[in-house]
């Protein structure tokens, strides 16, 4: 057996790959579902917080700023471990899926609130005053004048941050969520062959490489005017 054959037999073993492909596909589907849910809830919650912050109620804003700071400072894996191993002591045992979903949503919420808020305050004050003086209400000004511009400004940073946080779905493997990484790891220990890891790695590239390239494209399309 030549060196390459031995390498291929170890890392690209087709028999092992064929056997565990269904597991990896299951993990892939779970990862996609989780990622979509995280993106939807995280960004919606972040936008909601930024809008609430725009109303300028002092104590409420302090609470928002603290929450945002908290989830920007804590590593996502710490949030996941804390919720998963902490909540059962409070009499509530969340599933691995629910924990990962909630944790990553909270983290994405914090980052997207900060980005949306930066977009909102980037809209010049004069526009607020002008819209209000034409008779638009506060809410109309926010939703029809400020947010459309703010959201356009926030697209590139938000895209990159969302990609980075969505990749965190792999962290779910730590608490036994059967997503791609976890499926691949257990297949490696069952088969004592690393080929499933190669398959898992390929699955991640299939999933995230197009997203990263899309993010790069978004960046050029919506580039901040410097």
């Amino acid at each position: 057996m030549s060196g390459w054959d031995r390498f291929a037999d170890t890392f690209l073993n087709t028999a092992v790959m064929a056997k565990y492909l269904p597991n990896i596909i299951d993990g892939f589907i779970l990862t996609v579902v989780l990622a979509v849910l995280v993106v939807v809830t995280g960004i919606a919650a972040g936008l909601a917080l930024a809008v609430v912050r725009a109303f300028g109620v002092r104590p409420l804003n302090w609470l928002i700023i603290f929450t945002v700071d908290l989830f920007r400072a804590l590593p996502p894996l710490v949030v996941i471990v804390l919720l998963y191993f902490g909540l059962p002591s409070a009499g509530f045992s969340p599933s691995a899926f629910g924990t990962t979903w909630a944790s990553l949503s909270l983290v994405l919420m914090a980052f997207s609130e900060e980005i949306f808020w930066a977009g909102i305050i980037a809209v010049p004050r004069g526009q607020w005053e002008a819209s209000r003086s034409t008779g638009l209400t506060f809410w109309q000004t926010l939703s029809a004048v400020v947010l459309p511009q703010a959201i356009r400004l926030t697209v590139p940073p938000l895209t990159n941050r969302t990609i980075a946080i969505t990749k965190g779905t792999a962290l779910g493997s730590v608490i036994g969520l059967s997503e791609i990484l976890s499926q691949a790891s257990s297949a490696v220990s069952f088969s004592f062959n690393p080929s499933p890891l190669m398959l898992g790695a390929a699955a991640y590239l299939v999933l995230f490489l197009p997203v990263v390239v899309f993010g790069r494209w978004i960046e050029t399309q919506f580039a901040w005017k410097r």
Binding site: L74, P75, L77, K167, L181, L209, R216, R226
Partner: protein, 221 residues
């Protein structure tokens, strides 16, 4: 409730190993941040050489490591490479994984910084007799770093947070130690304590970042 989540007896008992974990996290950060910055600086400087044979492989390299979740890369190095006869140990895997992953991110940021310095300045510097390296070191990099400072700080914060994934390969950093203490005591207090330590350690950076980012946005008008 306080008994469960903030048990002072358990905090006192777990304190020495949490402190050890904190020191490991700090030491690990002091190692992987410079590693990532060096990797990124090399990538960014290579990207100034505008040759298609260099340009496309560089973009592919950066995008590859940005698409790969860092934990997957780490597990790949830790659980995959031994099959090729390469045992790097937890520490070696973390160092290499971080070098590859965070280097790609730092590389993108520094590249954007270098591109933000007008080409005229480089021509001017070269025509006054500075060498390529001198131009880079004295003219381009100082301005480039200033222009992307918020992004650099933000990425460094992410890198420090990311060291928590080293717990998965049993490197005894803060999160790992907290989980050990939790499984011995059957009580989540050590994890709560670790979270508080992370927060207190990184909150000032988050505040600073908010300020830098707001100033960067204000500067655009």
């Amino acid at each position: 409730m306080i008994e469960t989540f903030f048990n002072t007896g358990i905090i006192a008992a777990a304190w020495p190993i949490l402190l050890q974990g904190l020191l490991t996290t700090a030491g690990l950060s002091l190692l992987v941040v410079p590693l990532g910055v060096i990797g990124g600086a090399v990538l960014a400087m290579l990207s100034t050489v505008r040759h298609p044979w260099l340009r496309w492989p560089l973009i592919a390299w950066v995008d590859f490591f940005r698409a790969f979740p860092p934990l997957v890369l780490l597990i790949f190095l830790y659980a995959g490479l031994p099959f090729a006869g390469l045992e790097l140990g937890a520490f070696g895997c973390v160092a290499i994984g971080f070098f590859l992953n965070t280097g790609a991110y730092y590389g993108e940021i520094l590249r954007a910084g270098i591109e933000s310095v007008p080409a005229g300045q480089i021509e001017a510097a070269r025509s006054t007799g500075l060498s390529r390296l001198q131009t880079m070191g004295y003219v381009v990099l100082p301005q480039a770093v200033r222009n992307v400072l918020p992004d650099l700080v933000s990425n460094t914060l992410e890198v420090v947070k990311l060291t928590s994934i080293a717990s998965v390969v049993a490197l005894p950093e803060l999160l790992y130690q907290a989980r050990q203490a939790q499984s011995v005591t059957y009580n989540p207090t050590p994890i709560v304590a670790a979270a508080i330590i992370y927060f207190l350690m990184l909150w000032p950076v988050v505040r600073l970042l908010s300020r830098l980012e707001n100033r960067a946005i204000a500067g655009r008008h």
